[in-house]
Amino acid sequence: MAYDKFNTLQSSAYPLPIENVDTDQIIPARFLKATERKGFGDNLFRDWRYNADGSQKEDFPLNDSKYSGKILVGGRNFGSGSSREHAAWAVYDFGFRCVISSFFADIFKNNCLNIGVLPVQVSDTFAKEIFEAIEKDPKTEIKVDLTNQTVTLLVTGNSESFDINSYKKENMLNGYDDIDYLQNMKEEIQEFVKTRPF
């Protein structure tokens, strides 16, 4: 489905300084039973966020009212594990439009790009700097500029550029999705099909 355009985002952020956050933590399998893309944000990080009795775990950053914003900053190797796009949906549905990490798992990164959540990969040093800044001031703001491919920690003015392929960038800036593109080359695809041996 088509999604919101993304150009610049300036926001405070939630920190999650844990490595290898896998998709089973982002959204456990038992919450994948829906047949519609709705309400996944409630179960984002379910088992880290809630106790078995449904009460909130006070020390989990997403439950901590001092944090806010549309950016999630995760530890290294964020989103490893399954291909469930539900993980990206849950991140989106909670209100995030951007995830920052020093390393992303492939499929999760793809899934984010496909639904309009921007994955921003930064250096380990810069990730550390961001975590420290949030710890010092939970309201500290980060500016993500897609056009210029830069991410800036406003309090220090320090900035890094990030990678995104120009096709995906164009899509995100305009809110286009891949299916629109593929639909437009259907004839070419149909010609190709005829050449397949099986």
């Binding site: 489905m1 088992d47 492939d106 793809n110 392929n165 299916i179 695809i189 099909v193 041996p197």
Partner: protein
Amino acid sequence: MSTTLFDKVWDAHVIRKIEGGPDVFFIDRHLIHEVTSPVAFLGLKARGVKVMEPQRTFATADHNTPTINQHLPVEDPLSANQLKALEENSKEHGILHWGLGHENNGIVHVVGPENGITLPGATIVCGDSHTSTHGAFGAIAFGIGTSEVEMVLSTQCIMQPKPKKMRINVEGSLGKGVTSKDVALYIISQLSTSGATGYFVEYAGTVFDEMSMEGRMTVCNLSIEMGARGGMIAPDDKTYEYIKGRRFTPKDEDWDKAMEYWKTLKTDEDAIFDKEYTFQTSDIEPMITYGTNPGMGMGISNDIPTTDVVQEGKATYEKSLNYMGFDQGDSMLGKKIDFVFVGSCTNGRIEDFRAFASIVKGRKKAAHVTAWLVPGSHIVEAKIKEEGILDIINEAGFELRQPGCSACLAMNDDKIPAGKYSVSTSNRNFEGRQGPGSRTLLASPLVAAAAAIAGKVTDPREFLN
């Protein structure tokens, strides 16, 4: 120019290259299941388009299905709803559908190869990361998200940047009690869960030459656990023998023609990989995991590494051991376990049940252990009965359940209770993967069998003569 097996198959499927962007990549076979397809079909409906190539699309129900009493209506209304959606969507779009109870039903990555849907040189995708399994046949196979499922349903293509190339060589023959699962867990423990991110892996070397198709599937299946997009093995006579005569395998002249093509599918001798690793089988013993990701594995007779040898993320490492209830420096041998799970697309094939039976034969299940033995498909289930394996496991005090993903991801009722330990032949030991609070030790079917008999983590070589 010299090219790799991966290049050959990839390049043959690129319809258009986008400047600075991904390739428009054609998909030969699309496997779908009840969990990751409903939203994609809704998307199709919203756009008012039909499935472009229904005969290249195959549906099976597996993730969410009960493993007992499959003849009864599914109790959980949400699961029942997903199963119904798969059935109705398949019907509406003319897609072959193997629902619950159908003789060809089973885990998507088990039924694909069984029915000749999986072929060398093909591109195969599915909304499940362990689609990498099919790479065992020299196919390019990988998991995709639901937006991509919608792309493939509507246009038979996805947009993919070409991954980098890695070759992993393992030389030597496997020692006693060492299986394909141990080879894979060993490689992941060496590379870590992100060591192959951005790469597509080719497995090469004597160990894979000697390995059965089932074993190759286990290895390719686990490629995703080191971050790789997928893994593949060049097709050989074993591959052709396996696929010949299966339901969707090309026949007669089509077979001959396909064979001509398949014989070209190997890496040129002087081809260059972006990264290459070589390991020796002499370093590989039966493996077991002790932490909360598949990279946290070791030879079963070793001790859990201490934080001072852990490269990065000490806090995460400690959190992980804490979750598992283990201490650094502990030996895994002798740790008491509560559950054993044999199944999943990693180790739910006939060879795995043969291995399990080889140890439990003439012995008895430990009284305190609950064991779930779940075949990957009805075809596997039938073979278990046919080969007399069912009698062996029944005599040892085990029961066989009905096919499905089961406790691999615990979406159905097969959940390991909080705090309990399970030796599992599946693929992920993430926190809560097998049920909230569950603690998973990944291992081979031989290690699972030894644990089920002894009631604690045990070296399977003790039971093998």
